[in-house]
């Protein structure tokens, strides 16, 4: 299973963390510091797997972002690479050529997408189309709720002019 998912920028900034195994806040910081050091220092054209404390970390770099997933020793590394790629493609589809800024400002949305893709550390949905549909459906649910509220704030906004 996947123990956690990390998105780290090239400067070492954390963009997303998702933990499927119990880690305390302290451990989380430590893990990120440690892995950031290891992964960011690896050059291009090296293999995408790192042995780390009895686990394997599979990472892949997309533009300025490193997508890392930590798995058990006997999990399939290539499969996880595919999952990462899958995630990126879904993000791309959702945001329309995704960039780091999209993830920074819509950090919760990236989570929601990831939640559709993975559950309890396992791949849940392997179809990009389905994920897109599910996310869209939930977004519209959120939107309808928001609209009620924004109708009020519309009034306020007009009043302020």
């Amino acid at each position: 299973m996947i123990h956690f998912v990390l998105l780290i920028s090239r400067q070492g900034k954390v963009r997303l963390t998702k933990w499927y195994s119990p880690y305390s806040q302290k451990e989380r910081t430590k893990v990120i510091r440690e892995l950031g050091g290891v992964i960011l220092n690896r050059g291009p054209k090296l293999c995408n797997f790192v042995d780390w404390r009895g686990f394997k970390v599979v990472y892949k770099r997309y533009a300025s972002l490193y997508f890392c997933m930590c798995i058990d020793q006997d999990d399939n590394e290539l499969e996880v690479l595919e999952i990462i790629h899958h995630f990126v493609e879904i993000l791309d589809r959702y945001f329309g050529s995704v960039c780091e800024l999209d993830l920074i400002f819509n950090f919760h949305k990236a989570y929601y997408i990831l939640d559709e893709l993975l559950l309890a550390g396992e791949l849940q949905e392997s179809s990009k189309k389905t994920v897109a549909r599910l996310i869209a459906a939930q977004d519209s649910l959120v939107e309808t709720a928001k609209e009620q509220a924004s109708s009020i704030s519309n009034i306020i906004a007009q009043a302020t002019k």
Binding site: P22, F49, L78, I104, L119, A120, Q124, A145, S150, I152
Partner: protein, 998 residues
């Protein structure tokens, strides 16, 4: 200031648009507007303004003063709060503008959040919660204070709020969160919601935060969802069931059957989820899932999806070793898959499955090896790495595969990727045997010279550990190995000083024959002044110094050693090693004096060598050797009186500055040595100055002293097993204190041993040191006794401290000399002589220890820690797999119920009994593995028993349902069994399965 107020103005316009506002917030903003304008256009100062908070938000560079203002004035959450609350986006933007004061900004934001989260308005609350999630997740701030607020948001009817709340909860809750108890009803409500997304959210949350109570209380809901007609919900429930099982194994009783039913679902998504669950379950206890093999087989053969195939392969990798007939069946489809598939991930999984679990199937392994080779020569570093990884799995069983790919391995030693390098290094080391160790080591040392420091040390480390494995199992030619050690320590990047040091001493102690070569290597190391500058080598040098002192009799030229040990650059050494240098110099000096006065002075060559031998515990067997060594001493470096005088001068010159050393150890040893020189000097000078006859007379006293000290040094040391301490029976009347603090008062006078900074890891050496220093003291005070009796006396006096050495003697008696043959290669012929030797000499502890594992501390620690963790895991898994077995092996009567009534205690008692039965069963399984038909019979009878017990307890209407279920499932099941078993065609195998399928 002006520019920032412009910024804030813009924000005023933007903010309301983003705001989600509740109805009760409506009137007040309008009322407040005039004030706000007032704030911006009339009074730029912050004083006395109720809306200071707004300012604070928009102006990043506001002063602490206004912060305090805002605190005092805005005590409770107000409407303005919710209206002009910063959204997540504002927060992120604000954070990104902060170049330096990020921490201050965050703490300010947290301050706001703490206030906002108390708001009664759910929108405000949820936004605050979202912001807090952000800060907690990406900036690692504690958000446990908001646990209760998250629950409050959770109760909101709105989906958007729920989403945020669930996100926050799964992010921050853990088993010890106090409000965890309160969440059960929320989860239950959402699990039964009609909105599939809400169900999904709560399932997701449950998967993350489930503890025993939650898992128990929500099992019925999850069970219902397992057969939900919404696929989306069902597949999520399937995935979550794994977590529920882990936390609350009894839920297996309820849910397992439905889970298995899902195995026959045609929807690939659901199938993938179920197979995922089983592959996780099978990792922990594969045996329980053997009865499901036909289902898995079907999936393996029929599956179109690579995701599913990979998972199924994982399951078979676990199941196949348990059941050879299953392996027979499965190996062919796997090979087919390997040949056909284009997906590398699936291909690799096939390869890995074959090499881990099907290594007896020659043809399958050959095919896999072929694929591995393709991986190895691939451009893609990932495939290369995985190829090497697969190879290392094969290596344990089929070493030929590794040597077949030798060239590739050697080539990948210079790969740019450190992971690949290390992996191939491991493989190269796996190839090492006693025939090729020399040649491989040579290649590797050459690589080490060329590569970067990190990998260089990786190489050296693996050479050292491989060669020292099982007490130098693979080393035949120790002379070669010792010189290799010397060579390795000269490699510029070498940081393995400590390991080399240990091995130097260890080999010196264990292998007698190598000592002359060892001394030669030590000389080369000591004499090179350049090496003293490298701090990583200090440990090696300390070993070399110790070797030179301990085995000085093998040296060609002891005087050379003296010069090396006392050279000026030794001041670069750390004090602890400096002390060893001085100590070794002492030994060498005593040896020189001894050869010159006692032996050389008294009689001629032959008798001298004889006396030398008696001192030296070396003996008959070594006679030939030592005469050679001895001859060398005599011929190559004749020690004359003149050279002795020079030597003494050198010692005085080199050591007198050290008398003022700040390090106690160094100072003391220097003083000892100088004191000794003082004693000897007069006589030595006299003897050189006067006639020979005179010197014979006057040198008597000096000779006595020299002989004494030489005696003290000539006692040989042996290695002591790490477990030696445990073998010593505690003597009667000895009270062992847990706190050794008391010891200080007793041993206050013996500073040397207790504060011993000697870097050698061997207790026996400490003994030597202490005994020696004690000797010194006594000598100075003029008591001239037999050195051995001194030793004994000292031991008597400080018996407490001597505990370890006393014990080592006990052990030496315990060990039968039969262990000796553990010495190999060229030492074997000496073994029988050694037995004799050890019987009569005082050093029998050396040889017996050959059979002991080498005390590499790091490794021992790892070994010690692991089993503990495994044990804990097992205990939990036991209950889980026990429950699974209950279900699978013939207890179909325990039908799942949606009512909660089947959970409580009445059921549990029964469960415990069953548990015991299943444990017995499982033991039987282990014993008569092949004899599954008899097992089946037993299972059947157990099943019947249980049926009787259960029937009354179960609800009546259940029987109806059972019928319904079985009638609906039966045809399909039956079909599947046929289909699955047809290819299996193995009678005993099928006999296991009907148990479950009926």
């Amino acid at each position: 200031m002006s520019s920032s107020s412009v910024v804030s103005l813009i924000k005023v316009k933007q903010n309301p648009k983003r705001k989600k506002n509740t109805k009760n917030a409506l009137p007040s903003p309008i009322q407040n507007f005039p004030r706000k304008f007032h704030l911006f256009y009339q009074s730029p100062t912050l004083k006395n303004l109720p809306n200071a908070k707004f300012h604070q938000i928009t102006l990043n560079n506001q002063t602490p003063k206004s912060l305090s203002l805002h605190k005092s004035q805005m005590s409770g959450p107000s409407l303005m709060d919710s209206l002009f609350q910063r959204t997540l986006e504002d927060l992120i933007k604000g954070l990104r503008q902060q170049l330096i004061g990020e921490q201050a900004f965050i703490s300010k934001a947290l301050e706001e959040i703490r206030k906002e989260i108390k708001s009664t308005d759910l929108s405000t609350k949820s936004t605050a919660l979202l912001k807090l999630c952000y800060l907690s997740n990406l900036h690692f701030h504690d958000m446990s204070f908001a646990a209760f607020h998250a629950l409050e948001v959770l109760s909101s009817p709105r989906f958007s709020h729920k989403k945020i709340a669930y996100h926050a909860i799964s992010l921050s809750f853990h088993d010890s969160t106090p409000v965890l108890l309160l969440i059960t009803n929320h989860l239950r409500k959402d699990l039964t919601s009609t909105n599939e997304f809400e169900v999904s959210l709560s399932l997701q949350c449950l998967s993350r935060i489930a503890n025993v109570d939650l898992a128990r209380d929500l099992t019925p809901e999850v069970f219902t969802l397992l057969s939900s007609n919404k696929l989306y919900v069902r597949k999520r429930a399937v995935a979550v069931v794994l977590r529920v099982f882990e936390k609350y194994p009894d839920s297996v009783r309820v849910c397992f059957k439905r889970l298995v039913e899902n195995l026959e679902n045609y929807d690939p998504q659901i199938l993938s989820a179920v197979v995922g669950v089983f592959s996780e379950l099978a990792c922990k206890d594969p045996r329980s899932y053997l009865p499901l093999a036909p289902e898995f087989y079907k999936i393996l053969v029929d599956s179109k999806s690579n995701w599913i195939s990979i998972k199924v392969l994982k399951i078979f990798a676990k199941l196949a070793p348990l059941e050879p007939r299953l392996a027979n069946r499965v190996v062919e489809p796997i090979c087919d898959l390997m040949r056909k598939t284009g997906a590398k991930s699936l291909l690799f999984e096939c390869v890995r499955t074959v090499v881990t679990s099907f290594s007896e199937y020659e043809s399958a392994v050959r095919l896999a090896v072929e694929k591995i080779r393709e991986f190895l020569v691939d451009e893609d570093p990932n495939l290369k790495y995985l190829g090497l990884h697969a190879l290392s799995i094969v290596a344990s069983k089929h070493l030929w595969v590794v040597s077949e790919n030798k060239e590739v391995l050697i080539k990948s030693l210079s790969d740019p990727d450190p992971n690949i390098k290390i992996e191939s290094l491991r493989l190269v080391m796996a190839m090492v045997s006693e025939h090729n160790v020399a040649e491989i080591s040579k290649v590797l040392v050459n690589y080490a010279l060329k590569s970067d420091p990190l990998f260089c040390n990786e190489i050296l480390g693996s050479i050292l550990s491989t060669c020292s494995r099982n007490v130098y199992e693979i080393i035949v030619d120790f002379d070669w190995y010792v010189s290799l050690l010397g060579e390795m320590s000269r490699i510029p990047h070498c940081q393995m000083g400590e390991e080399i040091e240990n091995q130097f001493i260890d080999i010196g102690l264990r292998v007698k024959d190598v000592r002359p070569e060892l001394v030669r290597v030590a000389r080369d190391l000591l004499i090179d002044p350049a090496l003293l500058g490298n701090s990583f080598l200090h440990r090696v040098l300390s070993a070399a110094a110790w070797v030179s002192g301990e085995y000085v009799e093998f040296s060609r030229n002891p005087l050379e050693f003296m010069e090396a040990l006392l050279q000026p650059r030794t001041s670069l050494l750390p004090p602890s090693i400096m002390a060893i240098y001085i100590q070794s110099a002492f030994k060498v000096l005593v040896f020189c004096l001894h050869t010159c006065f006692v032996r050389g002075g008294s009689t001629a060559g032959v008798s001298a060598s004889a006396s030398y031998e008696s001192f030296d515990d070396l003996s008959v067997e070594n006679g030939a050797d030592s005469t050679v060594a001895h001859g060398q001493t005599c011929t190559s470096a004749p020690i004359t009186n003149e050279s002795i005088v020079n030597l003494l001068k050198l010692v005085e010159l080199a050591l007198s500055p050290l008398l003022g050393s700040h390090d106690v150890e160094v100072q003391e040893r220097a003083r000892n040595l100088l004191g000794f020189v003082d004693l000897i000097k007069l006589e030595a000078l006299n003897s050189s100055g006067q006639e020979e006859n005179d010197s014979e007379r006057k040198g008597v006293e000096a000779t006595k002293i020299i002989r004494l000290v030489h005696d003290a040094f000539s006692k040989e040391l042996g290695p002591v097993s790490l477990t030696a301490q445990g073998k010593v029976p505690v003597p009667d009347g000895l009270t062992l204190n847990e706190n050794l603090g008391d010891l200080e008062t007793i041993c206050g006078d013996i500073e040397l041993p207790s504060s011993n900074t000697f870097s050698f890891g061997y207790p026996s050496e400490e003994k030597d040191v202490s005994s020696f220093s004690n000797l010194q003291i006594k000598e100075d005070s003029g008591q001239l006794n037999e050195s051995t009796s001194l030793l004994a006396e000292h031991r008597k006096r400080h018996g407490l401290y001597y505990l370890p050495s006393g014990k080592s003697e006990v052990i030496s008696n315990d060990y039968p000399p039969a262990n000796d043959p553990a010495l190999q290669g060229d030492n074997n012929d000496n073994a029988s002589d050694l037995v004799k030797l050890t019987a009569e000499s005082l050093v029998p502890k050396r040889k017996p220890n050959h059979s002991k594992p080498r005390p590499v501390v790091v490794k021992l620690d790892e070994v010690d820690e692991k089993p503990v963790a495994v044990k804990q895991l097992e205990s939990r898994d036991d209950s889980l797999s026990g429950a699974v077995r209950d279900i699978l092996f013939g207890s179909e009567d325990i039908l799942p119920t949606s009512s909660r009534s089947n959970l409580p205690n009445s059921n549990r008692k029964g469960k415990k009994k069953q548990h015991m039965i299943t444990q017995v069963e499982s033991k039987e399984n282990v014993v008569d593995d092949g004899n599954s038909s008899s097992r089946r019979r037993k299972d059947h009878s157990h099943g019947k028993e249980r049926r009787h017990r259960k029937k009354n307890a179960e609800e009546r209407n259940e029987t109806d349902r059972k019928e319904k279920e079985s009638s609906s499932n039966h045809p399909r099941r039956h079909k599947s069994r046929q289909r699955a078993e047809e290819p299996l065609k193995v009678p005993p195998q099928t006999s296991v399965i009907p148990d479950f399928l009926l």
